[in-house]
Symmetry: C3
Amino acid sequence: MTKTNAGNFFEDFKVGQVLHHATPRTVTEGDVALYQALFGSRFSLQSSAEVARKAGYATAPVDDMLAFHIVFGKTVPDVSLNAVANLGYADCRFLKPVFPGDTLSSESKVIGLKENSNGETGVVYVRSTGRNQKGDIVLDYVRWVMVRKRHAASPAPEEDVPHLPAAVGAAHLAAPAGTSFKGFDTAASGSPHLWDDYEVAEKIDHVDGITIEEAEHMMATRLYQNTAKVHFNQYTEGKGRFGRRLIYGGHVISLARALSFNGLGNAVLVAAINGGRHVAPCFAGDTVFAWSEVLDKAEMKGRADLGALRIRTFATKDRPCGDFPGPKEKGYEDGVILDLDYWVLMPRR
Amino acid sequence: MTKTNAGNFFEDFKVGQVLHHATPRTVTEGDVALYQALFGSRFSLQSSAEVARKAGYATAPVDDMLAFHIVFGKTVPDVSLNAVANLGYADCRFLKPVFPGDTLSSESKVIGLKENSNGETGVVYVRSTGRNQKGDIVLDYVRWVMVRKRHAASPAPEEDVPHLPAAVGAAHLAAPAGTSFKGFDTAASGSPHLWDDYEVAEKIDHVDGITIEEAEHMMATRLYQNTAKVHFNQYTEGKGRFGRRLIYGGHVISLARALSFNGLGNAVLVAAINGGRHVAPCFAGDTVFAWSEVLDKAEMKGRADLGALRIRTFATKDRPCGDFPGPKEKGYEDGVILDLDYWVLMPRR
Amino acid sequence: MTKTNAGNFFEDFKVGQVLHHATPRTVTEGDVALYQALFGSRFSLQSSAEVARKAGYATAPVDDMLAFHIVFGKTVPDVSLNAVANLGYADCRFLKPVFPGDTLSSESKVIGLKENSNGETGVVYVRSTGRNQKGDIVLDYVRWVMVRKRHAASPAPEEDVPHLPAAVGAAHLAAPAGTSFKGFDTAASGSPHLWDDYEVAEKIDHVDGITIEEAEHMMATRLYQNTAKVHFNQYTEGKGRFGRRLIYGGHVISLARALSFNGLGNAVLVAAINGGRHVAPCFAGDTVFAWSEVLDKAEMKGRADLGALRIRTFATKDRPCGDFPGPKEKGYEDGVILDLDYWVLMPRR
């Protein structure tokens, strides 16, 4: 019997099954520095231990998306090694801050299965949960992927498609316990605009663009121990559909989030991801731009210091976003690569 | 009103104005490792906590230029986002060591203004100050940049050009308090040559060359949270003057400083930068070489263990420095990209 | 007299001579994160402080090969700056774990000399020893390199070729004191296969491939403060034998070790390197694959929790390893770049 991991095929998943993913991973200040170097984020809460302490944290929490990518990376060997496509995310909530020194581990529960009509693939729905060393859930989310069947002849499982919320309800967002953003220092953060200043339907062009290099996205994705083959192997991908290594979709999310600082500079925390679609592939050499629309605003229960903004951020490649490119009648305007719907938390006046 | 930062234009600066820059940044061992990986420095004081402790430090201080780049990076969004050119540095002093865990912040005071005769740009002089979390000044320096006017028709401010010293006087150099380099371990440092062994007018070819990649300079510059657009965006720069991303001048300074180890291996600290000029642009693919001349030697008041050397280091691209290429009648010899005049501290016999 | 290091030539080495190498280097969590980002390793003992603590460590030890590269890097300026070729390694033992915060230093003893018949080069054998700040030996190894003579006319030294073991005897392998891998968590490690499950002569294709970029191997090699010129300088190498920068052989070893996780996921420690040959050069753009054969199995004296596997790992470039490419009658099959013989330690049932 081979000792290498061939990954799970569609037949291997059963609704209710729990997958305990390897490998627990201790997050360090080294990871934080690399994340900084790769994305150039500037949100003051993650950048400065002093800002974090003033807000009641023991030290600076790590970027929410760094925690997400590490939790996500662990699911790949069990969930998506034989995936044809990552179809979507839903109901992702960030529940506890992650600090350097915390050890993250992941597990996934299969919550739905649906064979495709071609008999060759099926859709697997999992709820993945990231925990710290104390067992606290730091984040959880649903994703669904199209996975190859081992044998086309295998019988189809009973169709079981979970009901997923279109968005996380504002009442379900978690503000970090024991913190206060009252009197948040906007000179230090670099933006004078607080929650009160944003209007629903407001659009913000984040202006700047960042070109991605092969070394960068591979370093990022290895940092997360994400083993999806398409990101690393030019020998094989050179013969494949795109002729190139494909960039991990999460890399684009992190770039878009970092770019969004210019316009959303006080959006210190990501509280939830309502949904996300990687609309087109991204490759080394592409320059990523982003713009955002405010979809909704919500107060946070019991917190006069923080409010929530529901944001829809679009990222593009090789297309500045001054004209706000987004969906069109069918699909998306040229150059759009990411359509991300999420909640951020921002200090209030 | 847009919530994105358009940066300041020439009209926005007033002499005496103080700019409090975002974002405070906690320096970590992760930053130190990245700096090591990007430049390959080998000075033993920064490399080894044991060497640092023997010299009286609590632990290894971070590279002086890493601290400089972080302090500098913060000034970009307010000072040079609309800069046409970074014209020069002067009177930069390194006053306190920076350690992992320290949080750096920056502010700049406008100390001079001079509109250019074309009416479209002006020169802004600022003194920028980097402080740690205790409020101690860790370094400060003057730089002047040519900045676009918002409107050519705006009236010119009163011309006010500050008097700047040609060099920091040796009497104004700071040696780190509470340290002693007596009996400095030259086997550990890798060079037998101490302050006493250097002669004024001595020239040293640093021999080695290092080729720069796009991923490297972008990672470095994002690490410092320097947001100058020209370094990151191939889409826009591809249509621009050079057709390429321009490398942050400080990247070349750090490479030259790391290369200078071969010949100046005991120059453990940078005490001051007297002046620096980026003589020609540097791009990915260029191989950087360097050579130095000893301009001056000075004793340090109250310190028999340390002396100061005033060094002029030239960096070149794609040109080895065995023939010491430097200034010529008009401008510089081919390949020269950096002319840097600075003081280093070196243990004495 | 020049103050730059010209390195030692063959005439400079004497049998019995001890070289104290610069620069002591404090290993940090930043180094660990960079190593993770560059190689993507997933062995749970190094990845998780919690897994390490359960096994009796104070925290997660750093990857054995990271420690090796740092110790090796220090030897370059004194041993191999004028090397024509790195000919081999032998008798390398990993004796103590290295943790973030430890400061590593290296020394080498010349144990053999043999002038080549051409009179222009000679082979230098050194035993290099890496120590932590307490003076404990963390690893030591023999390597031999072909070094240029300063003058072809210099008289040849007496030939003195050391006797080197073909492999480290299993009785000489060191298991880390104070640890126990009893009940090792294989769900956390990601592989169900323990020492008991491997058979001598078993072959394992590690399946995955990773493409190397210039920025990556240069960052890695600078992280180790390895100054060998061929890795960094495209200006000079572009005119040289290969027309390209040559990748540090240790980079390929680290990639092969990381790839070997897929099939050897519980090989948590490298205990010894019996021998290694870099069979062909490796360049940026190459995609590295690997496969392994189990050469031997051994119990560890006094340890029912751990066993040793002697592994021979081959790495290839641009050639998947499903057909196990290795040595042929003369030399190696096309694409093979590394032939590495080493001992790993793996938990037992």
